[in-house]
Symmetry: none
DNA sequence: TTTTAATTTAATGAG
DNA sequence: CTCATTAAATTAAT
């Protein structure tokens, strides 16, 4: 099930968005309490309170989490799995230090929710920071094979002490990056790509 | 955490390498000169140059005009279009002093390219300075919707005389800022946010 | 020094 | 899988 706000985030659609869009594109009168002038900041602000609830998915979720509201269990963060997992096998010292600092001032539960907040609201996986060696190995493998099969990925995962999933994602992102660079160099230097087949397109 | 060079210490490296090699080349015999060491990045690297170029649309003209096709163009400094611009209207004294010193030894042209290199040693977009009105409008829109869709962004871009890209980046940075501030206030006053509804959440 | 515009990339979800 | 998009973590200009 999708988290509340998730749809909003991915489609950029919400009440505020729609109304704002209408206001911005058409100067129609609205039943909303904000006009295009207010949107554009051309009107004197009389109240600081927006007519619509701001769209802040991560805050919404944090509120739910902190309050432990079970009616929104669809928003729950798979905290546990991250807690004990290997995700932070290569966590950086900075974050470790932060956590250690917390220990002195907060309860375990509080620390948990702080850590939870450090990652994203749905328990978005903490961003993996590959070290130099990992990157180098991955790049070298990529040079030879940008579509490594499951066996190679597993092998890499084991050798580099990473989840196979991280490897997979890395290769996906790496392929996307390569593709983008190709697109861009074509755009930047069309004459090269046009001449590469020996065609005389410009004379 | 995987230490640098840790993989070299692995005892099963050779056997593993062999299978990796087989896996990597899959079905075909390797006509390439890659060894397993090179695959795993254990060989001396001779180039530190990234395989792909960054996206620098505003440099397109320069790249094409000045450099033409150059596989290392990401390292190059664009020469033409920013020469006469306002970007360096207020250069700092330190830099000025350096330049004066240089005067004794370098030609005007060399000095120019030195200056250019200082500020353009990487092809980074010149920092946009939003004016007060632009900020105000952006902030007002942000209050209602921190994820404006493409239509609103385009509209804003037109109304504020900015690239849509600037708008997009602004909102990204603005969201990050909001989130950061939220995180910080929770860190500073966890009891407030946790007890704000008077609930006993932890017992 | 602080703030924030710009960049790179890991993670995510839809197609 | 691709592709577009997002947030995290930076870098660098002011």
């Amino acid at each position: 099930m999708l988290a509340e706000g998730e749809i909003m985030a991915s489609t950029s659609l919400c009440a505020a968005n729609t109304s704002a869009s209408q206001n911005l594109s058409e100067n129609k009168t609205t039943q909303c309490s904000f006009s295009i002038e207010s949107i554009l900041g051309l009107e004197q602000k009389k109240d600081g309170i927006p007519a619509v609830k701001p769209h802040r998915p991560w805050m919404d979720a944090c509120t739910n989490l902190v309050l432990g509201d079970d009616s929104n269990s669809h928003l729950q963060i798979p905290v546990v799995s991250y807690e004990n997992s290997l995700f932070h096998a290569n966590s950086d010292p900075m974050q470790e230090e932060k956590v250690l600092k917390c220990e002195k001032y907060f309860s375990v539960t509080e620390r948990l929710s702080f850590k939870r907040e450090l990652s994203w609201y749905r328990g978005r996986r903490p961003r993996t920071a590959f070290n130099r060696n990992q990157i180098e190995v991955l790049e070298n493998v990529f040079k030879m094979n940008s579509y490594p099969g499951i066996d190679i990925r597993e092998e890499l995962a084991h050798k580099l002490d990473l989840d196979e999933d991280r490897i997979q994602i890395w290769f996906q992102n790496r392929r996307a990056k390569l593709k983008r660079s190709h697109r861009e160099s074509q755009f930047l230097m069309p004459e090269v790509s046009m001449h590469k087949d020996g065609l005389k397109l410009f004379k």
